[in-house]
């Protein structure tokens, strides 16, 4: 069995894990991250893309609200290229209790969230699709954040400081010597086992944290997977994040992110974090909630639906039954104090917005345990591509495409991806999995959902990587299968029409199901 040495092993390649990897590396440790799948494919890659101002928690959970606002400021400073400065409205619709908005303003002020009332007419002027039945609009510094860019940005930053991430390395066991955790055994994509010996292990596996901790023999807590669905609509209905001004509930956020608008979300207690089922009833509820914010919502093309799980921490003795009542603040478990196990901590819970803070707290605890306290600098140094501190703009891909209009073939027409960008990404990722390339570039994520770009991409993959036709076909088919999961629960209207055309292309023209692979 192959053995790798690392000073610090990070388990989990979501935002938290990537943040922890970056933090340990910036503090001068040799960090190694392992992730069972591709980076940001668990909870981090499955949220709506909202960079919270904290407004959502202003009334109910003031400490979370304050933490969100603090981190919102930090991320705007260090990850500007991942953020679109959309701003956010909290709107009182006809279905919301009007008295909540005063509580909201008080809560924001106490949490240090800049809040400003704007007139309904000004809001409707800026966002003409917003329901004219709203009665009050409060503006806060919400924003949209690209999860994949952020997570990969952290990993790139970590590698600048000597760190490394290994996607598709699944932890199958935790190595213990007596009461000390000394690393983990992982299984790579080919099914081979690799032993990783580490001086310290940080379990940042979010909704899977209890499973990993159990491998180390540490228990006494549960992660309740709170499953929520989100639907991406075909284009930007609004350019500002829209929240219902009410106690947080289902279907009350609409986030304009990149070229789509995402409505979220539901909250169903799941028994397993890998249970990502989507129920018809949830889709219907989401669309109805969308209608409350944007009249005509049901006529808009629904591009894709997906589910993600929130990692909500619950100590065994906690009595609350509904997951939403469990605190969203993150939890740090020092297994030395809890279980008498050294060299091992667990970080879970929290929100995407606060991932950097979670990482900082984790590495602080590690330093305390190691009696080697070093200062955190993750809030000071910008991520790669964010050094200029200019926010991402919706039009940036269009502007870039204009420059290359005459000398570069376009491959993904919906997301404006040219051949060079695609080939570069394929080389960089070294992956023959088109779904990995999708997350890197947003390939095939537009209205046609890969209908026109994926067969082109499979051909390019084949010619670039010298993989044989059978592997290229398998990659193509896997991609289509993966897309289908998010399409079939929302097959109506324009999306259905598109799916029929795509089906004719892949089944009718390319006979994709019968091809040898």
């Amino acid at each position: 069995m192959k053995t790798i040495e690392a000073e610090v092993l990070v388990i989990g390649g979501g935002a938290t894990g990537a943040g922890v990897l970056r933090d340990v590396c910036m503090r001068g440790y040799g960090g190694l991250l392992v992730e069972r799948s591709d980076l940001a494919t668990g909870t981090s890659g499955r949220f709506h893309g909202l960079l919270h101002s904290g407004g959502r928690y202003a009334v109910k959970d003031p400490s979370s609200a304050k933490e969100c606002m603090d981190e919102n400021r930090v991320l705007r400073r260090i990850a500007a290229d991942c953020i679109e400065d959309t701003s956010g409205y909290f709107v009182t619709t006809e279905k919301d209790d009007p008295s909540y908005s005063d509580l909201f303003v008080d809560g924001c002020r106490r949490a240090g969230i800049p809040v400003e009332e704007i007139s309904v007419s000004a809001a409707l002027n800026a966002e003409p699709r917003l329901s004219p039945r709203i009665s009050r609009v409060l503006q806060v510094p919400d924003a949209a954040i690209d999860a994949w860019k952020t997570v990969w940005g952290c990993v790139r930053s970590a590698s600048d400081h000597g760190g490394r991430a290994l996607p598709y390395h699944k932890v199958t066991g935790i190595l213990r010597e007596g009461d000390i955790v000394v690393g983990a055994v992982v299984e790579d994509r080919a099914g081979d086992e690799v032993r990783i010996r580490a001086g310290f292990t940080i379990n940042a596996s979010g909704a899977w944290a209890a499973q990993i901790a159990a491998l180390a023999g540490c228990g006494g807590f549960t992660i309740l997977p709170g499953r929520g669905i989100m639907i991406a609509m075909g284009h930007r209905l609004v350019d500002t994040v829209i929240n219902r001004c009410q106690m947080p509930t289902d279907g009350d956020i609409l986030v304009p992110i990149r070229t789509v608008s995402v409505i979220g979300t539901t909250d169903e207690e799941a028994s397993d974090p890998d249970d990502l089922r989507i129920l018809q009833d949830e889709v219907d509820r989401m669309l109805a909630d969308g209608e409350t914010l944007v009249p005509g919502f049901r006529q808009v093309r629904a591009l894709r639906v997906w589910a993600g799980v929130r990692p909500l921490f619950k100590d065994e003795k906690a009595e609350s039954s509904s997951t939403r009542e469990v605190s969203r603040s993150h939890r740090l478990l020092d297994h030395h104090d809890r279980d008498g196990v050294e060299g091992f901590i667990t970080i879970t819970g929290g929100k995407f917005t606060t991932f950097r803070r979670m990482a900082q707290d984790s590495v602080d605890i590690m330093g305390a345990q190691l009696k080697d306290e070093r200062a955190c600098h993750t809030h000071e140094e910008a991520l790669p591509d964010s050094e200029e501190r200019t926010y991402y703009k919706l039009g940036s891909r269009l502007a870039a495409r204009e420059e290359r209009l005459h000398d570069e073939q376009i491959i993904c027409e919906c997301e404006l991806i040219g051949r060079r960008a695609l080939e570069n990404a394929m080389q960089r990722r070294g992956s023959s999995d088109l779904d990995d390339i999708r997350r890197t570039l947003r390939l095939g994520m537009g209205p046609c959902q890969g209908g026109f770009c994926i067969y082109r991409s499979a051909g390019i993959l084949h010619s670039l990587q010298r993989i044989d036709a059978a592997s290229a076909t398998a990659s193509l088919r896997d991609f289509l299968q993966e897309r289908w999961k998010g399409l079939h629960p929302i097959l109506y209207g324009d999306g259905l029409r598109q799916a029929r055309l795509d089906d004719w292309i892949f089944q009718g023209l390319l006979n994709v199901e019968q091809l040898q692979s």
């Binding site: 003409p128 075909g234 284009h235 006529q299 039009g395 209009l405 027409e413 209205p447 598109q498 055309l501």
Partner: protein
């Protein structure tokens, strides 16, 4: 309505039918095509600064919207995006001038012979190109010293036809008023021959050239004023006919769809607006058209302009012209002459417009006809310029046939 235009991008299934029909992207790589500029690029647009300069190469012919089987309002999306771009960057003086034909014509009419001589002078045209950016060879119409409105006012009462019931309002547009007053007189004569009393109310530009040059608020001012002039007749149930297919389309549909105008005045005018051939073909369908035509022994290539096709009324001109004894009409299959209103006048777009029209020009030239027919004024000027063949409105052929019969 403006929301509906943008939302229509959701219907795009990427089939590329629009791209295969676009005459501009077929003629120049500078225009990346309607699918790219329309439903694709629109997803990347917001109130941010406009970034896609290639958009400006859309001629606005509207063929993409006509051929889209899914109902994407491609040309309309482009028009709106271009207006936003122009609003951010400012509109050059050239576009502000050519977008106001009635203003420049009013200045030129009193000195029409001089103005025409000047615009026919190659040296002066080079100067105009250098200073203003209007291409030296671009087809400019000739000003008349007696505008159509003046002619109608001076027409003796005895000459005018009075009818008890059948009245029609003639919306002649700037083209007839300032450049082709004879066409207006022939239109009136053809309508009177069919029993209509023709009312010619005072009228100004419909705002279309302003709209197509991205000057939306100025265009709104013009179209509102025109709609309010015409509304009383429309409310009284009188049909309003036009010999300009692009101006009538502006009132029928575009002011509403592109400018987002939703006044009651515009709506009622829109309901009553007819292309003149559309109205006459209706008469034909009801068996009420005066069919006593004299012989016109000619072979005439006929080009249905893009804006005429935008009406969605079939080809009423062909239905009418085939009634004329001796007349052989050859329908042209080429899509567009390239001029698209003011597009082909511009220095940087003249060559593109000529390339767009080349298949049409070649087809007309090959026929060796002495005359061609087309419903839209700027298209007539462009085709005549490119082929040397005089181009007339179909009404002129009908008029000739009626006169020949008398």
């Amino acid at each position: 309505m403006t929301i509906d235009i943008r939302a229509s991008l959701d219907h795009c299934v990427k089939c590329t039918i629009c791209e295969t029909h676009c005459p501009v992207s077929a003629a120049t790589p500078l225009f990346p095509g309607p699918k790219y500029v329309g439903p694709q690029a629109e997803r990347f647009r917001s109130e941010e600064a406009s970034v896609d300069d290639s958009l400006d190469y859309c001629s606005g012919c509207g063929i993409c919207s006509q051929v889209c089987p899914q109902g994407v309002k491609i040309a309309e999306i482009n028009s709106r995006a271009r207006a936003r771009m122009k609003a951010q960057r400012g509109v050059p003086l050239r576009d502000r001038v050519i977008a106001r034909p009635s203003v420049s014509a009013r200045l030129a009419t009193p000195v029409a012979p001089l103005a025409n001589a000047a615009l026919a002078n190659p040296v002066l045209r080079c100067l105009v190109e250098a200073v203003m950016g209007v291409h030296r060879k671009a087809p400019l119409p000739r000003f008349t010293s007696r505008p159509f409105q003046t002619r109608q006012r001076q027409r003796s009462a005895a000459d005018s036809f009075r009818a008890k019931s059948a009245k029609v309002v003639y919306f002649h547009g700037c083209g007839v008023n300032f450049f082709e007053p004879r066409l207006g007189e022939m239109a009136v004569a053809v309508l009177e021959r069919n029993g209509f009393e023709v009312i010619v109310p005072p009228q100004d530009c419909c705002g279309l050239p302003l709209q197509s040059n991205g000057l939306f608020s100025e265009a709104r001012t013009y179209v509102r004023r025109l709609a309010s002039n015409l509304a009383p007749y429309a409310r009284a149930g009188l049909p309003i006919v036009s010999t300009s297919t692009s101006c009538s389309l502006m009132l029928k549909r575009e002011a509403h769809e592109i400018l987002g105008e939703d006044s009651e005045e515009l709506a009622v005018v829109s309901e009553q607006m007819f292309d003149i051939c559309e109205l006459l073909a209706d008469l034909l369908g009801r068996g009420e058209l005066d069919r006593r035509f004299g012989e016109v022994s000619l072979t005439v290539p006929y080009h249905a302009p893009c804006q005429q096709r935008g009406h969605g009324i079939g080809s009423p001109a062909l239905d009418l012209l085939e009634l004329i004894p001796g007349l052989e009409v050859v329908e042209q299959e080429a899509q567009c002459c390239g001029i698209a209103g003011t597009y082909g006048l511009k220095k940087e777009k003249y060559d593109i417009a000529m390339a767009v029209g080349r298949p049409l020009f070649e087809s007309i030239s090959e026929l060796g006809a002495s005359i061609a027919a087309c419903d839209s004024e700027t298209c007539r000027w462009q085709i005549a310029h490119a082929t040397g063949v005089p181009v007339v409105h179909p009404i002129e052929l009908l008029h000739r046939a009626y006169v020949g019969e008398q």
